[in-house]
Subunit: 188 residues, 2 copies
């Protein structure tokens, strides 16, 4: 049964006065907008413009999923993560998920389903992550991008949850995906 | 019992060759580093330099927590979130948590404990979020920053979880905090 949604009457909407691309990096794009605050005052907001991303709960069998391990330079260490990737321009999220599961993990899946939509960094990025489930996997071989180095491995879902409990997995999108599926997920 | 940690032998470490502050905005700082990839090739990484943040599971009673609702300009809509805030320069995370719980929610707590450390955007930010629990709250009145508009409300923890299930709460740090506490948390 759906929970009774909360009812709010306050409106804190900030309206756009003007918008400019203030930083145009090789990866990151920062916009800086002049805004009107809900109290009528002027202000500004800076935020990353992000193409959107996907993340996959790929089931090798009903108790086993794929995880990846890679080095994340901004944090200067390796992380264990659910497979994920960014949308190419004009790409549908499900197409990205199918492409990335092959490129990074080397698997095609015969069955896909949508799980959830995450908003991972709402304070300073418009990024959205589309979480998909996949099963009936068959191995076709990975095709990593140039400069992309990672390893894929299989793990019991219950072990992955213990790694979340123990702080071995701390990547927030991954911890969310595992915990949400544990509590609410059902294989189709 | 602690889970058996995974054992990995691959090393995908990327080493810093040089680093520069490439964008120095009012809020966002972007560094662009020249790096050496694990295969010996050259590359670059761009990432947000973030001061770190805190998030609070503040218990009004054992079944009730504080949530906030505010407008998040990068996403152009309102979000329901756990109370959170950024570290000031030189500030200890627990001091930030105590300060923000007063400023945003108007509550002091007599008891605090550390819950978890989150890495919310490892692909393009060095941000870390320290999650604390707080209880034995007493109301002292909020002191919102200029330009900060939000409302705080009390909700049954079980209702908040249903809002996560139903996609009413999608902010990833908040969904993580609620799901992690539901599965692994214990009041001290």
């Amino acid at each position: 049964m759906a929970a009774k949604p909360p009812v709010f009457t306050s409106d804190f909407t900030e309206t756009t006065v003007s918008s400019e691309l203030d930083y145009d990096g090789g990866l990151l794009k920062v916009r800086r907008d002049a805004i009107r605050l809900p109290d009528g005052h002027s202000g500004w907001r800076e935020y990353i413009v992000h193409p959107g991303a996907v993340m996959m709960l790929a089931f090798v069998d009903p108790e086993t999923i794929l995880l990846e391990r890679q080095y994340r330079y901004p944090k200067h260490r390796h992380f264990i993560e659910l497979p994920a990737g960014k949308l190419e321009p004009g790409e549908e999220p499900l197409s990205t998920a199918k492409r990335e599961l092959i490129e990074e993990c080397g698997f095609e899946a015969r069955e896909w389903w949508k799980v959830f939509t995450l908003d991972p960094s709402i304070g300073y990025s418009n990024e959205v992550i589309h979480l998909y489930g996949a099963r009936d996997l068959h191995h076709v071989g990975s095709k990593l991008d140039v400069g992309e180095h990672l390893e894929t491995f299989e793990v019991k879902f219950s072990d992955a949850l213990e790694w979340v409990r123990d702080g071995i997995i701390t990547d927030t999108k991954t911890t969310f995906g595992l915990l949400w599926w544990d509590k609410f997920g059902k294989l189709p």
